[in-house]
């Protein structure tokens, strides 16, 4: 039996809005093996971030998990359903078992506290250490994320650090209690490319050394290729394909995934077909078409696509929510 740290099944998240309830996630299902990296990929508005916030129990006040299970198995082997936790139960999980880093390193740190203070607060919350031991751990951790002169940088305020350094601080903060699962919500999107590569290297190295699992949220297929063991592709609030990274790239099953891959600029091709966009736009959540949500933009769509479609195993460990039974492009 495989060791799954996370098993999300049929997750539904709804938001109250002026025009009634809007379903942002429609039966999202995916799994993550311990020690591995799962990339959650999709366009803006596909529900990647909502999924991560639902996992952390940090949905905004007008949002709620309306159905589905979020099974999580921690380091101690105990399995729990995150969606059934109360506020106090969740506080014990956040930061200690599951921690998260965000897209905006510039604004994700509190400007009025030193970075050492903010990293150390995580220890204060979850571990029983005295002031001196905390400080020692903080400096060790800042050192581990390759912040030069860690001891003196611990006393710096966020505005005194660059974006890349701040993201390192965020990673140090997320990792200091040695969580089993790290959720990284577009951690490199706001950084320039060289810094991005450094941060990805750092995350991979920490994963090897500390053995955590990573749920990596991104819209960047290049980052997926570099980071992910497994990939789940999301579209309009649902997972449309999950496979190993290699299978997903080599044996693409869902037309939307194919579209995403084709919209990466290809240096070898001529200028006119270097980048092929997917026609149309993501449908608004309150006006999803019947059946497959991607059908109106799909080059392979046929009449059957108006029937409900579910995620099914098309090849070994390769799921797709499409009527096609063959790889695309066909």
């Amino acid at each position: 039996m495989r060791d799954r740290i996370l098993d999300v099944s049929n997750l539904r998240v709804a938001f109250r809005s002026r025009g009634g309830e809007v379903t942002a996630l429609r039966d999202v299902s995916f799994t993550l093996e311990r020690g591995r990296t799962l990339a959650l990929v999709g366009e803006s508005g596909s529900g990647k971030s909502v999924t991560s916030l639902a996992l952390m129990g940090l949905l905004p006040p007008n949002g709620r998990v309306s159905a589905g299970r979020l099974r999580y198995r921690g380091r101690d082997g105990r399995e729990m359903d995150l969606s059934a936790l109360d506020a106090a139960g969740y506080r014990k999980i956040r930061g200690a078992e599951i921690s998260m880093i965000f897209q905006e390193p510039m604004s994700s740190l509190n400007p009025l506290f030193t970075v050492g203070d903010q990293v150390g607060e995580m220890l204060w919350l979850h571990q029983d250490l005295d002031e001196k031991a905390r400080r020692k751990r903080v400096v060790e951790m800042l050192d581990l994320v390759e912040i030069p002169a860690a001891a003196s940088r611990a006393d710096a305020y966020p505005h005194e650090l660059s974006g890349g350094m701040r993201q390192r601080v965020m990673i140090a903060m997320a990792m200091i209690c040695n969580p089993a699962l790290l959720i990284a919500d577009e951690p490199t999107t706001a950084l320039d490319v060289t810094i991005q590569a450094q941060i990805l290297d750092l995350m991979r190295r920490l994963q090897n050394e500390l053995g955590m699992s990573i749920l990596f949220i991104t819209h960047d297929m290049g980052v997926v290729a570099e980071m992910a063991d497994e990939v789940a592709v999301m579209y309009a609030g649902a997972v449309v394909e999950q496979a190993t990274a290699r299978d997903l790239f080599a044996d693409t099953r869902h037309p939307y995934t194919e579209g995403l891959l084709r919209s990466i600029p290809q240096p070898g091709r001529s200028k006119s077909n270097r980048l092929v966009p997917i026609p149309g736009t993501v449908p608004p959540l309150h006006a999803l078409p019947q059946g497959c949500a991607f059908a109106p933009r799909c080059p392979y769509a046929e009449a059957r696509c108006e029937d409900p479609v579910v995620l099914t195993e098309k090849a070994s460990e390769h799921w797709s929510a499409c009527i096609l039974d063959r790889p695309v492009p066909a």
Binding site: R91, S99, M100, F102, S107, L112, M122
Partner: protein
């Protein structure tokens, strides 16, 4: 930092000098002769001329001005025309009720307004939020003399909980004097709490939407700690500003409140001084108030520096 303080100090001197000059000019623009007013309608023109000479009011205005500024630099604000005593002594004798009134009402406003403002922002759109905004609007719109009269009627006259007015008479002990300040402080505090409440709420609403508040939640701390440690410290910066500004309202509000409750403070003093054309007292009060205001402003800015390390001097 010492350079900054020096710069600020020079700025303060300039402001106070300007206030000095404006005060001097304005009181003399007002019609009416202080000598004639002091002697009453039965005085002969000769009496008036003599008194003007004795008070130095017959000298050219520029000479009066130079004498006034020279005195002020030495801490001498002149002699009161009415009390026949140094202005500094007159002001000092009236300072206590005003200082404590300002202090208590600010304290009252803060104690009422900040927790409600924070909670209203946290529970945005809730009944408490709506109620607090409406109450704040009401508190800001009802003039303090009316609130004062209502409180005097019900809390003082009918229920007898507090003294109706005055400052307890010449022999009253400290506690008795402070007891006379309770109602005036609440009246003045209510008006100011409205502004502080709205500011606290607005600034808290801004901060609660910040990314670092989400980060704080993701660390697994209690909501209490998220709001009171991570959000409030950031929201505190605009709140400090409005508290500083409120001080201006307190000083002008004190005039009305002291009048309604018949308190022997600076507010009452300055109103009487205007009616009596007691130039030196009017000037003296304006200078003291301006100096206080400038000092509070400086304190506000220094507080910024202490709270927010991003602020550069």
């Amino acid at each position: 930092m010492p350079r900054y303080l020096l710069r600020r100090f020079v700025g303060m001197i300039v402001v106070i000098f300007l206030v000095l000059t404006i005060a001097f000019v304005i009181v003399r623009l007002a019609p009416g002769d202080p000598a004639a007013l002091m002697l009453g309608p039965d005085a002969t023109p000769q009496d008036v001329t003599e008194l003007r000479e004795r008070l130095g009011l017959d000298r050219p205005i520029f000479v009066q001005y130079v004498a006034f500024v020279a005195g002020a630099v030495q801490g001498n604000l002149g002699e009161s025309l009415f009390f026949n005593a140094p202005v500094t002594a007159v002001l000092a004798a009236r300072a206590e009720p005003t200082i404590f009134l300002a202090l208590f009402s600010l304290l009252f406003a803060l104690v009422i307004a900040t927790p409600i403002g924070i909670y209203a922002a946290y529970r945005r759109g809730s009944t408490l939020d709506q109620t607090s905004i409406t109450s704040a609007m009401l508190a800001a719109s009802v003039p303090s003399f009316l609130t004062g009269l209502i409180f005097q009627r019900y809390l003082a006259t009918e229920l007898g909980w507090f003294p109706v007015s005055g400052y307890g008479g010449p022999d009253a002990g400290f506690f008795e004097r402070m007891r006379h300040l309770v109602l005036p402080s609440i009246v003045l505090g209510i008006v100011n709490s409205a502004l502080i409440l709205r500011f606290t709420r607005a600034s808290m609403l801004d901060i609660l939407g910040e990314d670092y508040v989400r980060t704080a939640r993701a660390k697994g701390m209690t909501e209490r700690r998220v709001v009171l440690r991570h959000a409030l410290k950031n929201a505190g910066i605009p709140i400090i500003t409005v508290v500083g500004l409120t001080f201006a309202l307190l000083v002008s509000g004190a005039v009305v409140t002291e009048r309604v409750f018949n308190l022997p403070g600076l507010g009452n003093l300055v109103v009487n001084a205007v009616l009596r054309r007691d130039y030196p007292v009017i000037q003296g009060t304006l200078i003291v108030v301006a100096a206080l205001y400038v000092l509070v402003n400086l304190a506000t800015d220094l507080l910024y520096l202490a709270v927010d390390k991003r602020v550069k001097v």
